[in-house]
């Protein structure tokens, strides 16, 4: 379908002779680190960017687009990471936005609209309530609405850009089912992801981009994880990544808890008991909505406690708000770095110094040089790839943005480091670097509490893992009790399926 694509931005050659062929009914995975050219390629296909060279063919016919509308007309639909839905409207309204069934004088035929939306969702097999307001839906269902919307009309090529980055494993199932239904209708799918296991699960072929060029196209069934990783990062750097599936070694920890929660309850938590030792990395596993994020928010003072007690290094403490938590040495790397973690239009320096402004001031006046020095050293230590600490955070890649969020809490070392999905939307290379940052923090004595939907990540990082179900800790597992993501996945499903309280005595 695509051949010899070239694209330049100024002096930068973003794409060099990229060839990509997607067959009807095929799921074609597209892999590559951030900056490898995936987004540029998508933008060319969706008509946002024009191409400098090369051709695009659909069903053998060369096409040219100069706008997203033209690309859509040619049958290409893109589902972006940031969704394009109207949150105040219902699912049905969103699906048929701009092509509502109309009566005379432009009145909308509401019943026909509902019926069409329902019939369409049924055909796709997507379990969505057409009447629900999009804004009230969990993120995963919004994403499904988005995909359903993309599939309305004459679609020949569907492009999914990291569709699973914020989905739980069950939701990923539903998504894959929906994709399967689409391919059975003869739609070709380009599936962009950072998660290699998904590639093996869903795609028939894989194309890897590196530095704007093809680093190989593989038939999925004939390749393996190691070969793909080699293609993604280039052979010289693969050594540390392949060890990804090995768990952290068992360590002897200082048993004194730096953070402990006993019987903590509030609107979302029910009698949570949890402790994190000095130097421990403690994982929280659970589905979205299970209360794992809420545990972090409660410790950070964002959710008031109704009963129970929190202790920091053995002293009782009632968090009153983020500034109180920060004063106690608690730090949070939040789930959504764009919304909660960073001021995108400000420099790296401004972002890094934000939580500790008083430390860089005397009598209320900023000591700008001290702040700049500190930011420069954090940039160097965390290996943030940027021109300098005065670069705007918006211009950085996802992994580097996440390093900046870590940089906010790097110095002085926090007693308790709370991490919520620390590697979402981060490419393979940067992920390893972030793991190193987390391990260093633990080695320096921070107690780390990490929430992640990526079970492999939890197995690889954590000394202990607590399974969270319905706002309570269903079980805490030590290293040695569980060493395998597959096993953890089964356990999670079991607890979820049987509800809290019933499985307390069962072995893993």
């Amino acid at each position: 379908m695509l051949s010899g694509i070239k694209k330049r931005f100024g002096g930068v050659r973003a794409l060099r002779d990229v060839n990509l062929e997607v067959r009807a009914g095929e799921v074609h995975a597209l892999l590559g680190e951030n900056g490898a050219g995936k987004s540029t390629l998508i933008k060319i296909l969706s008509g946002v960017h024009a191409l400098d060279n090369g051709t695009i063919e659909i069903a053998g016919k060369p096409v040219e687009f100069d706008s997203p509308a033209k690309s859509r007309e040619a049958g290409i639909a893109v589902v972006y990471q940031d969704l394009s839905l109207v949150e105040s409207l219902s699912v049905a309204d969103n699906l048929l936005l701009g092509r509502e069934p109309r009566a005379a004088f432009g009145f909308v035929r509401q019943r026909a609209l509902m019926a069409r939306a329902e019939a369409f969702l049924k055909e796709l097999g997507i379990p969505l309530d057409t009447r629900a307001t999009v804004g009230s839906l969990p993120f995963a269902y919004r994403q499904m609405t988005e995909i359903a919307k993309a599939l309305m009309g004459e679609v020949r090529l569907l492009i999914l850009d990291e569709p699973t980055s914020s989905l739980t494993s069950d939701e990923v199932r539903i998504l894959f089912d929906a994709i399967g239904k689409a391919t059975r209708r003869g739609v070709g799918v380009i599936y962009v992801t950072h998660r290699l296991n998904e590639v093996f699960e869903i795609s028939q072929r894989v194309t890897v981009l590196r530095d704007g060029a093809n680093a190989g196209t593989f038939v999925t069934a004939d390749t393996d994880m190691k070969r793909l990783v080699n293609a993604i990062i280039g052979t010289d750097r693969s050594a540390s990544i392949v060890s990804r599936n090995e768990p952290a070694p068992k360590r002897d920890l200082d048993p004194s808890p730096v953070l402990s929660l006993s019987d903590v309850s509030n609107d979302r938590l029910r009698a949570v008991d949890l402790s994190v030792s000095k130097g421990e990395i403690h994982g929280l596993a659970g589905l979205i909505g299970s209360g794992r994020t809420e545990i972090l928010e409660t410790v950070f003072g964002l959710r008031p406690i109704e009963s129970g007690a929190i202790e920091i290094e053995g002293r009782r403490w009632l968090p009153t708000g983020p500034s109180d938590a920060i004063e106690q040495g608690v730090a949070l790397v939040p789930e959504d770095r764009h919304v909660q973690g960073l001021v995108l239009d400000h420099s790296i320096e401004r972002n890094i110094t934000l939580p500790r402004i008083p430390h860089f001031s005397r009598w209320g006046w900023m000591q700008q040089r001290a702040a700049a020095r500190r930011a420069e050293s954090a940039v160097a230590r965390l290996a943030v790839k940027a021109q300098g600490a005065s670069s705007l955070v918006r211009t950085l890649s996802g992994g580097n943005q996440q390093k900046v969020v870590f940089g906010k809490w790097n110095d002085p070392r926090p007693r308790v480091l709370l991490l919520d999905e620390p590697t979402v939307g981060v490419d393979v290379g940067a992920r390893e670097e972030i793991y190193a940052v987390i391990r260093n923090a633990a080695r320096d004595g921070s107690g780390v509490l990490v929430v992640s939907s990526d079970l492999v990540e939890l197995i690889e990082l954590c000394d202990r893992i607590s399974v969270i179900v319905d706002g309570r800790v269903a079980r805490t597992l030590s290293r040695g009790e569980i060493d395998d993501a597959e096993e953890l996945h089964h356990l999670l499903q079991m607890y979820q399926a049987s509800g809290p309280g019933h499985l307390q005595g069962l072995p893993a």
């Binding site: 964002l302 995108l344 400000h346 402004i357 209320g364 006046w365 900023m366 040089r369 906010k408």
Partner: protein
């Protein structure tokens, strides 16, 4: 793993470097030079078309006429950077002026009492605006739309819409008619407000927090910043500056009137936006605001000198403001 070593940038702080940094601090903005170019173009056009425009006296005139807008716009810069808006500033000015004049007439005819009453009333209106906005989570557009009306109503109620005469000579000298180091005091007060604004916004902890709150309120909250207190402080600052403007105006006219400067909030907001502030928050700078209000003042002055009819002045002014914003925005 060669790519892991980051380009380490060592901060060298030579003197020229520092001077450039200060200049950047003052002139920052997306395309700040556009603003200055627009101002210069305006000066050239008026100088060529009116023989009276290009003179020291006339420039002092422009300075004096823009005083009120400039002083308040400095506060409004903080508010707009923190993603809020204050529509009540003109009414706050009127109410503060009445408070100052009445307090003086009641207590010893003392200029100090007048100044404290004027500034205090302005600060109080700002505090109420800030508290309603942050504690009740009412959008500041609505809160200040309400206080615009209420403050004006109160100003008229206290004397049944009659002006209050001021007789204190010291008051006139300090706020309206004297000179300070050879500079007419209204201009001196503007410069003082500007310097305080620059220090607060660009060199103080408060300014950093204002930018963070406007740039991303959630991230600011998650970084331990008391976003409500910072936002409220911006309203108090603006109210206080509206109080200062009230002192200047009443000292110049030897009286406080409840019906003054109606609609001036629009000039103030226009000056701030013209000066490069983003209505979406997180961006803006004091010197830009000052040039924004100078552009508006120069327009007013130049159009009068050219003998343009006052309805036509309004049309031209509006068009130029829209054109200038279109021209200077990113």
């Amino acid at each position: 793993m060669t790519e892991l070593t980051a380009p380490s940038v060592v901060a060298s702080s030579t003197r020229s470097d520092r001077r450039r940094k200060i200049l950047q601090n003052l002139l920052r903005g997306e395309r700040p030079y556009m603003l200055y170019i627009a101002f210069v173009i305006l000066l050239v056009v008026f100088s060529l078309s009116s023989p009276w425009f290009l003179s020291v006296d006339n420039f002092l005139n422009i300075g004096r006429q823009t005083t009120l807008v400039s002083i308040i716009a400095i506060g409004m810069t903080f508010i707009i950077i923190s993603r809020q808006i204050d529509l009540s500033v003109a009414s706050t000015l009127a109410l503060s002026g009445m408070a100052a004049a009445l307090a003086m007439s009641q207590i010893n005819n003392s200029w100090i009492v007048g100044a404290v009453a004027g500034l205090g009333t302005g600060a109080l209106v700002g505090l109420i605006n800030g508290i309603l906005t942050t504690q009740l989570s009412i959008p500041s557009f609505l809160v200040t739309l309400g206080s615009l009306s209420m403050a004006r109503g109160l100003a008229m109620m206290v004397t049944n819409t009659k002006p209050v005469i001021i007789t204190n000579e010291t008051y006139f000298a300090i706020f309206g008619e004297g000179t300070f180091l050879g500079i007419p005091v209204p201009i001196a007060w503007t410069l003082a407000a500007m310097i305080v604004g620059i220090l607060l916004l660009h060199y103080n902890v408060f300014g950093r927090r204002i930018y963070a709150v406007g740039g991303n309120p959630t991230a600011a909250l998650y970084s331990g910043i008391n976003t409500k207190r910072i936002t409220t402080a911006a309203f108090v600052l603006t109210g206080t500056l509206a109080g200062l403007a009230a002192l200047v105006l009443s000292a110049r006219s030897h009286a406080a009137r409840p019906d003054v400067v109606q609609g001036m909030e629009l000039d103030v907001i226009a000056a701030v936006i013209l000066g490069g502030c983003s209505l979406f928050g997180g961006r803006g700078y004091i010197l830009g605001t000052l040039f924004g209000s100078l552009i508006i003042g120069t327009l007013n002055n130049g159009l009068v000198l050219l003998g343009v009819s006052s309805p036509m002045q309004l049309v031209i002014k509006g068009a130029i403001i829209v054109a200038a914003v279109a021209f200077t925005k990113r």
